[in-house]
């Protein structure tokens, strides 16, 4: 597992996705990667597109009060660009959220794939269900790579 400082260092050094780098992710295109934080119960999903864009959505569960325009929202979303990096220690999915951007509660909670950084990423096939500690805080997650969007 990569140390957190390395995540940030890599986040600053990656470049936009190159066409030749997309092939490893072909099972993710047109499909949905869903995860659940087993501790918080928060659920997320991410779409990775062949053009290097991503969309991530978060369901943080019922909030303590009804939202006004400043939140808190149970549902949040974010878009941006991503790169896939193959490192000796494993693959990294590096996310570049679009700007300008509002700070999301998912980001404050450091939910998976909510921040501008690189995450360890193990490739799977459609239909796979697996458990992993994929975020920098090593929290337990369950993942589903499901067909369709």
């Amino acid at each position: 597992m990569l140390p957190r400082s390395l995540f940030f260092a890599l986040a600053l050094s990656v470049q936009p996705l190159l066409a030749g780098e997309t092939s490893a992710l072909h099972e993710y295109f047109d499909n949905t990667l869903i995860w659940q934080n087993r501790a918080s119960g928060a659920i997320g999903r991410i779409w990775l597109n062949p053009d290097g864009r991503y969309y991530a959505f978060y369901n943080l569960g019922p909030q303590p009060k009804a939202p006004d325009v400043h939140g808190p929202f149970q549902i949040e979303g974010r878009s941006g660009t991503f790169t896939m990096r193959n490192m000796p220690a494993g693959s990294l999915l590096c996310l570049w959220p679009s700007s300008p951007r509002a700070e999301l509660k998912a980001q404050q909670q450091r939910e998976l794939y909510s921040e501008a950084m690189c995450y360890t990423f193990v490739l799977h096939s459609v239909g796979d269900v697996w458990d992993d500690s994929a975020d920098p805080l090593h929290r337990a997650y369950r993942f589903w790579l499901v067909k369709g969007r």
């Binding site: 959505f57 006004d68 979303g77 509002a102």
Partner: protein
């Protein structure tokens, strides 16, 4: 934040200028050629009789965007003449529509003390939605239910607690109240969330469904009737009434979307499937979130 209208927030000061109640048969289409009722709410500083005197629209009048704009200007000018300011918001609703006898009701909501917003803003009324987020929420509890990202190219992303969907939309002609009908078509009717984490939409049904929700779209307007007995419908309508939420949006659902500003927080009563209290709460929040 501007609370534009809402039950329990604004005191309902409706004035029915005439008793056009509508006598349509079950399934009658909405007819916006003539306004049947005009309501005025929010007036305190100026008596409604004075407001009525400056308005040209009356119950039974032909209804058009131009006529509504003219009356908004008349009301704002009346306030200005008395040294006051007011923003006038218009809302076209169709009570009785789900029961098959819609009435065309135009409500003027007066926000006294507010600077009037342009009643005929230039440009695309949907422009403000393209870089921001439209949130739909429950009218009573306030819980947010969906987030909509409209794109300039005619596509959108809508996500809720259980699913995220791409789609495309079409727009109809501007309504007399300044709202634009936006018909949303999901790219897929399928739900992809694993059952283990899918949100429960309601109590499990103990018996096979005998009733459904029948939604039909005509002239950029979707009308839905809940609790329709399937056995009473012809086979092709039975299939429509048995559609899942995903299938309904795949085939298209039209919602009126009005001119708003970031930070607005309002209630919409003319949605095809309103939630709590017969309406939806809507917020326009900055950015994509």
């Amino acid at each position: 934040m501007l609370q534009r209208s809402g039950l329990g927030v604004l005191m309902r000061l409706a004035l029915c200028l005439a008793a056009g109640t509508g006598t349509g048969t079950l399934g009658a289409a909405v007819n916006d050629a003539v306004v049947q009722e005009i309501h005025i709410q929010g007036d305190r500083a100026i008596a409604r009789e004075q407001i009525i005197r400056v308005m040209a629209l009356k119950a039974g009048s032909p209804l058009s965007r131009a006529a509504v704009v003219a009356d908004v200007k008349h009301i704002e000018a009346l306030y200005q003449h008395t040294g006051k300011t007011a923003d006038v918001i218009t809302d076209l609703t169709h009570p009785g529509e789900q029961e098959g006898s819609p009435r065309t009701v135009l409500t003027f909501t007066i926000i006294e003390g507010a600077s009037p917003r342009p009643v005929e803003p230039e440009g695309d009324p949907l422009e403000i939605y393209f870089e921001n987020t439209l949130v739909c929420a429950a009218a009573s509890s306030g819980r947010d239910l969906c987030h909509l990202w409209l794109n300039r190219d005619g596509t959108f992303i809508n996500f809720d607690a259980g699913e995220a969907k791409t789609g495309h939309y079409s727009t109809g002609p501007m309504r007399p109240d300044g709202k634009v009908p936006v018909c949303q078509y999901w790219d897929s009717p399928d739900m992809v969330t694993p059952a283990e984490i899918a949100p429960r939409m309601g109590p499990p049904l103990a018996t096979p469904a005998t009733h459904g929700t029948l939604c039909t779209t005509e002239d950029f307007r979707t009308t839905c009737r809940r609790g329709v007995e399937l056995a009473s419908l012809p086979p092709e309508q039975q299939a429509i009434a048995m559609r899942s939420m995903g299938e309904r949006f795949y085939h298209g659902m039209c919602y009126p979307i009005g001119p708003h500003r970031i930070g607005d927080d309002w209630f919409e009563r003319d949605d095809p499937l309103p939630g709590e209290l017969g309406m939806d709460r809507v917020l326009l929040i900055p950015g994509r979130q």
